[in-house]
């Protein structure tokens, strides 16, 4: 017998691969995908921004300033009178045209205002718990920094975008979380038990899928009564998004379970007398988990886009809730965006977020099957 088993000496690198679990292989393969890795860090940064939005936003997003109505973004300068100094802005001076009453803004170049870290700003309550008043960046002496200009009520657009990320970024996550739960449960039942139940579920999914997504979203959102509270609307939005989204995930789960159930190793476990539940837990779930994560990740951007679009059409979230879609409601008319193009800034955030999710998901997809060559 000993002659049959020559153990080639494995190089340390190879030995490391031999000992690598699915998730390690997954991560190593993902790591090779440079764009996806960058996207991952971008997304981490975006979610940190959403988590710490009170600190990061320089101003209270709801603070109106009649002197800054539709103010243009303040430019950050480095040179004052030809002398290099720390980044600073010039204060904005409002002019009102006496005939048209239109506002315009000029920079008061005599008074450079340096940008400081952790300045005192509008007081807030961090995560609704800790009262604080330090902001990450700001101007000294009660001056206000408007990096992306202001809306028609004179509110700081940058602060609003930062606050808006909290809702826009979480609605996708929670929506996907909900559809993931529905998808795993229903797809799992469908794939595992098969038979009549499977046929019924498959028909249902087919019917749901033949509803055109956008009109259905629109109709359901439009049915939300106007007097509902923001929290309730937010919750209903996620449910609506999830209702449409779960079918895709359920299909992935079902398909994978059907394929995995036929794998010899599942048969082996059965023959060995392993209990059904243990087989599901040890063999089936880990088998489709990576694919599910990929599908879920790629579903998040479409949910973010859906929220933005619905809110933009005034069918989703409504002011005073701040979300990227709500912010874009101000940018509906051509005349508005022609005169105040900075109102389109939230689009940049939406696009970057969705783009990063797509890159990230693409990298995950490549890594999802670490056992294929």
């Amino acid at each position: 017998m000993s002659a049959d088993t020559i153990t080639p000496v494995a190089a340390p690198a190879e030995e490391k691969r031999y000992l690598a679990s699915q998730w390690q292989l997954f991560w190593w393969k993902f790591r090779d995908h440079r764009l996806a890795r960058v996207a991952l860090w971008f997304l981490v940064a975006l979610y940190i921004m959403a988590a710490l939005c009170e600190v990061i936003a320089p101003n209270d997003p709801n603070r109106r300033d009649a002197k800054r109505k539709l103010a243009s973004p303040q430019r950050i300068h480095l040179l004052h009178n030809g002398v290099l100094r720390r980044p600073f802005v010039y204060p904005q001076v409002q002019h009102i045209n006496p005939e048209t009453l239109a506002q315009s803004y000029t920079e008061d170049t005599a008074r450079p205002l340096s940008i400081h870290f952790f300045t005192k700003g509008d007081p807030y309550s961090f995560w609704g718990l800790i009262p604080m008043d330090r902001r990450l960046i700001g101007l000294p002496d009660g001056e206000r920094l408007y990096l992306m200009g202001a809306d028609r009520l004179g509110r700081d657009l940058f602060a609003r975008v930062v606050y808006g990320s909290r809702i826009s970024l979480t609605i996708g996550l929670i929506g996907v979380g909900l559809s993931l739960a529905l998808g795993i449960l229903i797809g799992g039942i469908s794939g595992y038990y098969g038979g009549v139940l499977d046929a019924f579920i498959q028909r249902t999914i087919e019917i749901i899928r033949s509803f055109p997504t956008i009109p259905l979203w629109l109709a359901l959102s439009a049915a939300m009564p106007a007097e509902w509270s923001n929290i309730r609307v937010y919750f209903c939005m996620t449910v609506i998004l999830a209702l449409v989204g779960w079918t895709g995930l359920a299909r992935v789960v079902r398909g994978k379970i059907l394929a995995l159930r036929e794998e010899d190793y599942v048969l082996a476990a059965k023959v060995a007398g392993v209990r059904e539940f243990t087989i599901i837990l040890r063999h089936l779930v880990p088998g489709f988990m990576s694919h599910l994560i990929v599908t879920a990740t790629l579903a998040i951007p479409s949910m973010i886009l859906a929220e933005t679009s619905l809110s933009f059409l005034r069918l989703g979230l409504r002011p005073p809730t701040i979300s990227w879609g709500v912010l874009l409601q101000d940018a509906q008319s051509i005349s508005a965006i022609a005169l105040y193009p900075w109102l389109l800034f939230p689009i940049a955030f939406v696009v970057v977020t969705v783009l990063m999710f797509n890159f990230f998901g693409d990298g995950l997809r490549d890594a999802a099957d670490p056992y294929s060559h």
Partner: protein, 354 residues
């Protein structure tokens, strides 16, 4: 690696006419893991009307060699050295297939015209969305001055020749409507419709049942006789080799380790690998008492580079300090037409590994 002068010896040494002369062929693959040498400078001569069997286990480079001959390597593979001289049909200079552009018109004339190939899995080797007739006539239209109805007639005639029942009906069938055996017959019809001079059969029966395998092998033998072509039979099954081949080349890890006429090879195997292969297949009639001699270890995957003789880690007769250093060339003459790449049959003069 052997020197050019030694190659010339092998090339000259033949009393037979040569159809295709492969010299020092080397194929490399560029993979994520690095560059893999799939074929390490092999020499092979193919004569008209004869069958050369190439036998080896998975990853020995036998299929790659065949694909290199038609320049249809996967996109990551490349011929990096060597020549493949194809004798012209009517006088003139030989064509070096290795120098032809893989997408150029010269090699395309040769593919299907002079050299044809059939593959292991007849199901996936035929297009699922085109009829059998469409796929066969395409060959005719490419290589012969024929109109479409003429081409169809030839296709039907060819299907009849390979023993497909009701060929007039079957030309309109799709591959999935046929059984595995019939599909392989259609593949053969497609390959032979333009009367090539060489048929490369890459594991043509591995996916088939024994009875059907026997039918297909006998069909290939019959067609070879009738059409007068050379056959290169690639297989891992020594039984198939014994039944079909005139000459045999045994491959291991991208190299030919032994080459001989078929009877000589089976009667008098020299290379420890060939001996091992012959010993480890169960023989009919030996019953349960036959304890099979096995070759220890397993075929290494092609990424590993073995210093010295590629077989030495599994070889029972290895000589420490010799076999792990130099790669023995395929030279040692142990009989007429019998060559082996093993230091046991050579003056002990290992060359430095390249």
């Amino acid at each position: 690696m052997s020197t050019p002068s030694e190659n010339r010896i092998t090339a000259v040494n033949s009393r037979m006419e040569t159809l295709l002369d492969i010299r020092n062929l080397e194929v490399r693959f560029r993979l994520r893991e690095g560059i893999v040498r799939a074929v390490h400078g092999i020499n092979l001569r193919i004569a008209p009307n004869r069958t050369i069997g190439v036998v080896g286990e998975s990853g020995c480079g036998k299929s790659i060699t065949a694909k290199a001959m038609l320049q249809i390597l996967p996109s990551r593979g490349k011929i990096t050295a060597g020549e493949m001289l194809l004798a012209p049909r009517d006088g003139g200079p030989a064509t070096d297939l290795a120098k032809l552009h893989p997408k150029g018109p010269e090699i395309r004339r040769i593919r299907g015209g002079d050299i044809s190939m059939i593959f292991q899995e007849p199901m996936v080797s035929l297009s699922p969305v085109h009829t059998i007739g469409n796929q066969i006539t395409e060959s005719v239209l490419l290589h012969r001055p024929a109109s479409k109805p003429e081409a169809l007639d030839r296709a039907i005639e060819m299907l009849r020749l390979v023993g497909v029942p009701m060929p007039e009906k079957r030309v309109n069938a799709y591959p999935h409507e046929l059984s595995g055996g019939l599909r392989q017959r259609c593949m053969i019809a497609m390959a032979l419709v333009c009367r090539p001079r060489l048929l490369i059969a890459d594991e043509p029966t591995t996916a088939l049942d024994v009875t059907i395998q026997s039918q297909i092998l006998s069909l290939i033998r019959r067609l070879q006789r009738e059409l007068g072509m050379a056959v290169m039979m690639i297989t891992h099954d020594l039984g198939v080799i014994a039944e079909t081949s005139d000459d045999v080349a045994v491959m291991y890890l991208g190299r030919i380790v032994e080459q001989a006429p078929v009877k000589e090879l089976f009667r008098n195997p020299k290379h420890p690998y060939t001996q091992g292969l012959l010993d480890c297949i169960p023989r009919f009639g030996k019953g349960r008492d036959q304890k099979l001699t096995s070759i220890p270890g397993s075929v290494p995957d092609p990424f590993t580079t073995v210093p010295g003789c590629p077989f030495h880690p599994r070889c029972a007769k290895r000589i420490a300090g010799v076999c792990d250093r130099g790669v023995p060339p395929l030279l040692s003459k142990v009989g007429p037409e019998h060559r082996v790449a093993c230091v046991l049959y050579d003056a002990p003069r290992p060359e430095a590994a390249s």
